[in-house]
């Protein structure tokens, strides 16, 4: 099942994750190249978000090994993954700091590059510089005019963009997007596709997109991985995967296997 990727920045071999008797991930091999967009799809409960949580250090896998940037990693905390390995993620249910402004939310992303005592010592200059960087990022994702609004007052699609902006503020090398198009109408989803492509073109990073919206996956990903019941059942470019009999079976049931 494993397709070799040149210089993978992230490599998981036989990763499994169990919660009591529930096998959320059985054994998954997964590679992410330095500059590609990987789509991660699968029916509900197939382990996509668990895989993402394992990648981003929120869960500890029960079996298998993970390699980051070519170095074998004892499973690191999400803080160290963010600071040392340039890994950023968004969440399936939007998680913004509800009482803070959009700008402050994105500034929180900047913490990956700074120490906690930083602007105590050099008060002023550094703060202004980071604020300028944040404004650039907000401009980039297209919500610069809403920078001073409270984050949770924004429209749903804009809240998604704040999350993406916050992830970009950590200047990641690997960006994990967990269902970025959930709850969006087709036009908003199209804007999102454009945004993901723009991020990929203008910033040198790899992106993993978990998505149920096939339009988004097929239009962004150069490679698609299909999970079902904690196993990787298909792997390849979007066109091959969408006609794969196992994938059709997983999504539609046995009857449609030959459809």
């Amino acid at each position: 099942m494993s397709v070799t990727v040149e210089n993978p920045i992230f490599k998981a071999v036989g990763v499994g994750c169990r919660f009591g008797g529930v096998i959320a991930l059985d054994s998954v091999d997964f590679e992410i190249g330095a500059n590609e967009i990987v789509g991660l799809i699968g029916p509900n409960g197939s382990g996509k978000t668990t895989l993402l949580n394992v990648l981003s250090g929120i869960y500890r896998p029960t079996s298998g090994t993970v390699e980051i940037n070519g170095k074998p990693s004892k499973f690191k905390s999400s803080r160290r993954l963010s600071r040392e390995d340039g890994l950023a993620r968004t969440f399936q249910n939007i998680r913004l700091c509800p009482s803070l402004t959009v700008r402050d939310n994105v500034l929180i992303g900047m913490h990956a590059q700074y120490k906690w005592y930083d602007s105590l010592i050099t008060f002023g200059g550094r703060e202004r510089r980071t604020t300028r960087e944040v404004d650039e990022i907000l401009e980039f994702v297209g919500i610069a005019d809403k920078a001073d609004e409270i984050a949770t007052d924004l429209a749903y699609g804009d809240q998604r963009r704040v999350e993406i902006a916050r992830a970009l503020a950590t200047s990641p090398r690997l960006l994990l997007l967990d269902e970025p198009a959930a709850g969006m109408n087709p036009r908003e989803a199209q804007v999102l596709v454009d945004l993901i492509r723009r991020i990929h073109q203008e910033r040198d990073l790899a992106i993993v997109v978990i998505e149920h919206n096939m339009n988004v996956v097929m239009n962004t990903a150069s490679r698609v991985v299909v999970l079902d019941a904690g196993l990787c059942i298909a792997h390849g470019d979007p066109a091959t995967v969408s006609s794969d009999p196992y994938v059709l079976e997983a999504y539609l049931g046995k009857r449609f296997k030959d459809a």
Binding site: G57, I58, Y59, R60, S78, R79, R83, S99, W116, S119
Partner: protein, 347 residues
């Protein structure tokens, strides 16, 4: 309430208030100066708690213990040594900080209402310690007759000098917390209050930052303790009960969590009313209880929000009650049989 007033007028009014504060001893009776000094001491004390409770969102009911640690260290040093006051201030502040850091370590394991219980226990233990360690703390009678020290040859004995000193310390501490609130450190406090998982996955060292918050808050409380000793000339356990911790939580909530002026406005109302409205003292708890409920439900910014004095950049928590039911990190409880490793990675 003051939203219609232009900000420039408010700023001018602030300057006028500041000048009046410095001229106060020439304008009013000594009793009023004493009350004002008490209010300022509690402002400093509450500013320390504001960092822990308002910014970092950690509910602490043991803040009077750090206050007391600072006060007792200062009293012992003033009684036993001829150390200059500046040294005593430094030692008491460090003492409060170390004590608070130790208490803060418990926040690695517990959060939300459990942390409130732990700190409540610390406050109670400290009170019992004060009562029973006769040799060090003087037991239930406390340490009377603490001499006022000298700061660079400037005696703290006259009330006016002490008032001015307290005023300067209050302004410096408020400025210090204002700077912190605008720095990376302040923002990591706010991020932790809002959502720990977010803080962690964006590179913030959550356990360390919590301890730092406790340490700075405790240091400020220790400093307030010294001022309290200088003002009263006496320390006794009754000043550092859990009631005092609850009073300061009250000040922070009423004044406005995570605001710069909140601690001052809160202690102005809470301490001022206990001094001047003593005829209402039977109803005090009732009135402030109702006020806190109102603040928590509708005006989380407290007096600062009600008066419309808040900054342009909001830091006030929108749902303060959520501090009590801190949601667990995005991790389900794991059955222990075979998968103890599938737990959340802690640090």
């Amino acid at each position: 309430m003051l939203n219609f007033v232009p900000r420039s007028v408010l700023r001018l009014a602030g300057v006028v208030v500041l000048v009046l504060a410095f001229l106060l001893p020439n304008l009013v009776q000594p009793y009023t100066v004493r009350v004002m000094a008490t209010i300022l001491v509690f402002t400093v004390f509450a500013t320390g708690l504001n960092l822990i409770l308002g910014y970092t969102g950690l509910l602490s009911f043991g803040h009077a213990a750090m206050f007391g640690a600072g006060a007792y260290i200062a009293a012992r040093l003033l009684l036993d040594t001829g150390m200059p006051l500046i040294g005593i201030l430094a030692i008491s502040t460090v003492g409060g900080a170390v004590f608070a850091a130790l208490v803060g370590l418990t926040s690695w394991r517990v959060g939300g209402d459990y942390l409130a219980l732990v700190t409540l226990g610390v406050g109670e233990i400290f009170y019992l310690f004060l009562n029973n360690a006769d040799k060090v703390t003087g037991g239930a009678t406390g340490l009377p007759g603490v001499p006022a020290g000298e700061l660079f040859g400037w005696s703290m004995l006259p009330l006016n000098n002490l008032y001015w000193f307290t005023l300067v310390v209050t302004i410096l501490v408020t400025l210090f917390v204002w700077v912190i609130g605008r720095s990376f450190l302040g923002r990591s406090f706010l991020a932790i209050r809002e959502d720990e998982v977010i803080a962690r996955s964006h590179g913030i060292n959550v356990p360390l930052t919590k301890v730092v918050s406790f340490t700075i808050g405790g240091a400020i409380a220790g400093l307030a303790g010294v001022l309290q000793v200088l003002l009263l000339g006496f320390v006794g356990p009754a000043t550092f009960t859990v009631d005092q911790s609850i009073l300061v939580v009250e000040i922070v909530l009423v004044g406005g969590m995570a605001t710069t002026l909140g601690p001052f406005l809160g202690s102005l109302l809470v301490i001022g009313s206990t001094q001047y409205l003593s005829s209402l003292s039977d109803y005090r708890s009732m009135i402030f209880g109702a006020l806190i409920v109102i603040v928590l439900l509708w005006k989380p910014g407290g007096l600062v929000q009600i008066l419309g004095l808040g900054g342009r950049r909001p830091t006030v928590p929108r749902t303060p009650l959520s501090l009590l039911r801190r949601r667990p990190a995005a991790v389900p409880q794991v059955d222990s049989i075979e998968t103890a490793t599938a737990q959340e990675v802690k640090l």
